[in-house]
Symmetry: C2
Subunit: 275 residues, 2 copies
Amino acid sequence: MTAVVTIGEFSRLTHLSVKALRHYHDIGLLAPAHVDPGTGYRRYGVDQVAQAQLVRRLRDLDLPLAEVVAVVSAPDEQTRNEVIAEHLRRMERELQRTQDVVASLRHLLEVGTVQVAVEHRTIGHLTALVLRAAAVARIDISAWCTESFSTLYRAAHAAGLPPTGPAGASYGPAFFERDLGEVLAYVPVPEAARLRCVGGAGSPAPEIVPGGRFAVGLHVGAFTEFDRTYAAVGAHVAEHDRALPLPIREIYLLGPPEAHDPGEFRTEVCWPILP
Amino acid sequence: MTAVVTIGEFSRLTHLSVKALRHYHDIGLLAPAHVDPGTGYRRYGVDQVAQAQLVRRLRDLDLPLAEVVAVVSAPDEQTRNEVIAEHLRRMERELQRTQDVVASLRHLLEVGTVQVAVEHRTIGHLTALVLRAAAVARIDISAWCTESFSTLYRAAHAAGLPPTGPAGASYGPAFFERDLGEVLAYVPVPEAARLRCVGGAGSPAPEIVPGGRFAVGLHVGAFTEFDRTYAAVGAHVAEHDRALPLPIREIYLLGPPEAHDPGEFRTEVCWPILP
DNA sequence: TTGCTCCTCACGTCACGTGAGGTGGC
DNA sequence: TTGCTCCTCACGTCACGTGAGGTGGC
């Protein structure tokens, strides 16, 4: 028989607040060993502290409660450790992003707004291997692009189609206005590809990517700084052209995996305008 | 005359979502240059993008909106940079804490619960220099203790009173149950000190710290691991003694600033019990 | 004229914290 | 018996996101 303690005692044992303990009971994580049916008084067994210690550390790492439940009720050690490891990787990525933003903020405060030369260009229709998604969240865009272009280049290579120009992607208005919207990634291939059967089932098939008239600015640097070139191109358009409510296109002249230093990345930002 | 754009265009220029822009307008941060009185349509000037870029970076760093307002409306560059710098320091501390918790989690998963030898001890009344606060938040406890003990040791030294034993602190029940409660820090000094006029105005004065009967366990290691020894001592008390609803005392046998490696810290955790 | 954009509520999210008002346990 | 602990609502926090329902602009 292990001893039982009141919620207040258990709080002192575990360094979890009474409010938190009641909440964990409400959601089914860490239910007390016994609840008095008349008074509702909670009694915790001292053998529950081990679980409480785990919960406390996971919450201190901001693991969402739903995942804490998953860890605590994991059928085996491996499942449990995988949830934790995935969260630690998420935190690593967050840290990297934070460092990028700090650098970007420093850059903004030092340099102020950037000057970007904006040119007008008519882009023709392109034959290309295409991947699209109806709703990509802005936070996921980097991972989505990495994966998509990897797939596209592999498919082009497997089909013996040499890319005929830089890859690109186009972003629907909702992607900016709602942080969630349609994205299309493409790798240009020879026109003749359309006549051939390319890839297997599930592989990207050749399509026509429609062209148009664009105001174009060259973005030099990391993707975290994209808004600065968008601001320059968009401001130019607002002052000199008529913007069209079509997707904005980015053309990746130089980027990963070829370039490793984000400072070297070169991307054209193409803003659709009235001809 | 700078051009004006709709909220949707401004969203594409700045990479701030339309919902976020409306929210920033509501709270008075980043108000549009013009609002149509009839329709409520917002029009932003393209010269507002610079401010928007700053806001976006600050929010990406999780600076609270109230402080973003403070930065954006700072009277001078120095005020602005100080708010930002303070936030960056906060983030540094957060990172350190996160790394500590990761280590602590790893330790828990590897070692499991710790064994702690618990002894019973009657502690007598102590003459000591004392600092107390009615409500210290758990997150602030480390900073509060560092500052308090620094003050106490300086006061003892200035008054020519050599500490007669290890320093300690006592934590009221609410400190654990509500993550916010009374804390008292003390440094023991010779009894004769009570007869002398010590320190100047505002300096801690000598007092009697009441003793009592305690269950005592030795905590070896970092303060982030405190809950493990609390669990051991508290469980022992629950099984063998009657706990009293009095403050729990910690006695700092070895800690900062003398020891630098948290692995070496030694602290006694004293749980008040019925004699 | 027809979509499309824009508008304003009202409510949801997440993990508790903050009281209010009341009762049981020692 | 007297505090003290414990209980359950109901609401607040923070920075927007998610619709609903409706109107203006090109």
